[in-house]
Amino acid sequence: MSIVDLVLDTGFFAAAVRLAIPLLFGTLSELTAERSGVLNLGIEGMMLSGALAGFGTASATGSLWLGVLAAIAIGMTIGAVMAVLVVNLRLDQTVTGLGVSLAATGLVFYSYRLGFGESSTPPSITPFSTIPLPFLSDIPVIGQVFFNQYALTYVAYLLVPALAFFLYRTPAGLSLRTVGENPQAAAAAGIDPIRARILALVVAGGLAGLAGAYLNLAAFGSFTFGIVSGRGWICLALVVLGRWNPIACAAAAVLFGAVDAFQLRLQASGAVDLPYQLFLALPYAATLVAMILNAKRAVGPAALMQPYDAEHR
């Protein structure tokens, strides 16, 4: 089997979309935070918390949708904590975000052990099944790739134009972007930058939690300690690649879903006799290369990483 054959069927593209969706939710989350001027390094911890909250709730109640809600709620809560730290207290965004991710990771592993013990067979749930959309799924090729997916995937499809519309076509979106570019000017125009950034972080948290929930409620069906393993960090890079634009970010996420699907196929096919870890490194290496190629054109919000102090103008 040649490498070209690996990617030339609808199964591959459907897998690419499936793997892209958590990255897409995560990227839109990071985009929302960064557009308000906050770099959210807590995203890795938020995604992991969402994954455990979703899985724990779903296995306790038997309802996958309650799991999704719990994941969104825990993400929003951590987003609010992050907001108090970096917006109200004006702590350094990089180190604080890292601290939030470290603390959340430790707490998630701790709670998992408390809740599920140390069993040798990890508990699992029956994940969401795919729902073929009427008519749309009958389109040759495209139908099976894009329209025979999970309900959450369709939510993600709708979220991309919705966020783009919000950012570029509504007054609130303009306010958010202004706060990210120049919070002093925004304040002079009657916008409260503090409030805008808090809201952005809470929404970003909810989206990151949703990304985590997707990983085990739709993609894997069980919780493992490595379930997120750097996907949050990849979203940080995807925002740069997508140049802080929702549509371009979605394209970047799909591209990286494809890279991920490709490495899985390559691993499974045995077409290349190399240690499988080399393939696992592929998405990260591709991210780095893409960032280098894109470096000159990527210019983020001007006030990114700058705390806003109402008293200093």
Binding site: L41, L114, A310
Partner: protein, 357 residues
């Protein structure tokens, strides 16, 4: 809610007490977590303290575990002082360890040169890896937060690929690198313990970094670049070179941490050669308030948490992950404490809100 600057902003006593307050606050939060696990927090902390400090074995183990944390903390300190966001400590420790393991297994090298070359090789490897995000940042403007994070994963998987490929034991199939030569194992200062040369290297490095930061032009330039790059440029400083120098120094220190783990503890590369030391270094550096002298107590504290949590988990059944949670909570607590030592919090609506109708 808003922050108001305290009238006397420079209070050395308050500054010194701040990490203590942060640690106390995190212990309190962890006490709640331990209660949730159904154990008595006081008993649990007692077991931790005893396991970390009581007796020759406990104490030397904590010191040995503090060594990579000291070096990784210094690496973070140098980078953060210069505002070069090196979150790549993890990857730099791993390449340092791989370099040390490779040099340490060379039979062609004269025996007395083995250990010095392991240290030099590890420092060079760490510095070389750190040079990548540093030059990407200074040349192309690639954000180093993301690039260092990506490199951590790339290096980790490359190491695992080596371990399950060329380095795999052909007989047993174990995924550990070949052991280093007997002569390459670091000397131990106290028989029967793991108090090895790498611990001494770590303590010496504290002195060296302290002198560099306080007494040299380079150290001063790094501080200026970190506090205000625009002013640094106006003052005629070569910001690019200072950033590169800081990154190289930071990477070299992290690389040395890897060498210590190979020469003094593991004697071969194993998949978990650096289980989070790179990230823990940032916690150590912040707990030390970015001062070299503070690195030692901060690293000892984090080392004590991990050695103590092992034993405490065995005895009480409280999950070991309390140690991970504690590191993150400590990091946040110390950042909050740092702000609170300079500002007061006032809870009321901000002035401009009252001004707008």
């Amino acid at each position: 809610m808003r922050l108001v600057a305290r009238p006397n902003r420079n209070s050395p006593l308050r500054d010194a007490m701040m990490p203590v307050a942060a640690v106390a606050a995190s212990l309190l939060i962890c006490a709640v977590l331990i209660l949730l696990a159904g154990a008595n927090p006081l008993t649990a902390f007692g077991i931790m303290a005893k396991a970390a400090f009581w007796g020759k074995f406990a104490l030397t183990e904590t010191l040995a575990r503090a060594a990579p944390l000291i070096l990784s903390g210094l690496a973070a300190l140098v980078a953060l002082r210069t505002r070069f966001w090196n979150i790549g400590g993890e990857g730099q420790i791993i390449v340092g360890a791989m370099a040390a393991a490779w040099v340490g297994a060379l039979t062609s090298l004269p025996t007395p040169l083995l250990i010095p070359f392991m240290l030099i090789g590890a420092a060079l490897a760490g510095a070389a890896l750190a040079a990548v995000p540093a030059s990407l940042k200074t040349r192309l403007g690639v954000d180093e937060v993301v690039s260092t994070l990506m490199l951590n994963f790339i290096v980790m998987y490359l190491m695992q690929a080596l371990l399950s490929g060329p380095w795999k034991d052909p007989v047993t199939g174990w995924t550990n690198s070949p052991s280093i030569l007997r002569a390459a194992e670091f000397p131990v200062f106290w028989k029967g313990t793991r108090l090895h040369l790498g611990v001494l290297v770590a303590f010496l490095a504290v002195g060296v970094v302290g002198v560099i930061m306080k007494r040299t032009t380079l150290g001063l330039s790094m501080k200026i670049v970190g506090e205000n790059p625009r002013a640094a440029r106006h003052a005629g400083l070569d910001v690019t070179r200072v950033t590169l120098a800081a990154a190289l120094l930071s990477g070299a220190l992290a690389g040395l941490a890897g060498a210590g783990e190979i020469g003094g503890i593991q004697f071969q590369v194993i998949a978990s050669i650096s289980s989070g030391y790179g990230y823990a270094g940032i916690v150590v550096a912040m707990l030390a308030r970015l001062s070299a002298a503070g690195i030692i107590p901060a690293a000892l504290f984090i080392a004590a948490i991990t050695t103590g949590a092992d034993e405490m988990s065995r005895q009480t059944g409280v999950p070991f992950f309390i140690a991970d949670a504690m590191q993150g909570i400590c990091l946040i607590a110390v950042l909050v404490a740092m702000t609170l030592s300079r500002y007061q919090i006032r809870f009321r609506t901000s002035p401009e809100r009252r001004a707008t109708p």
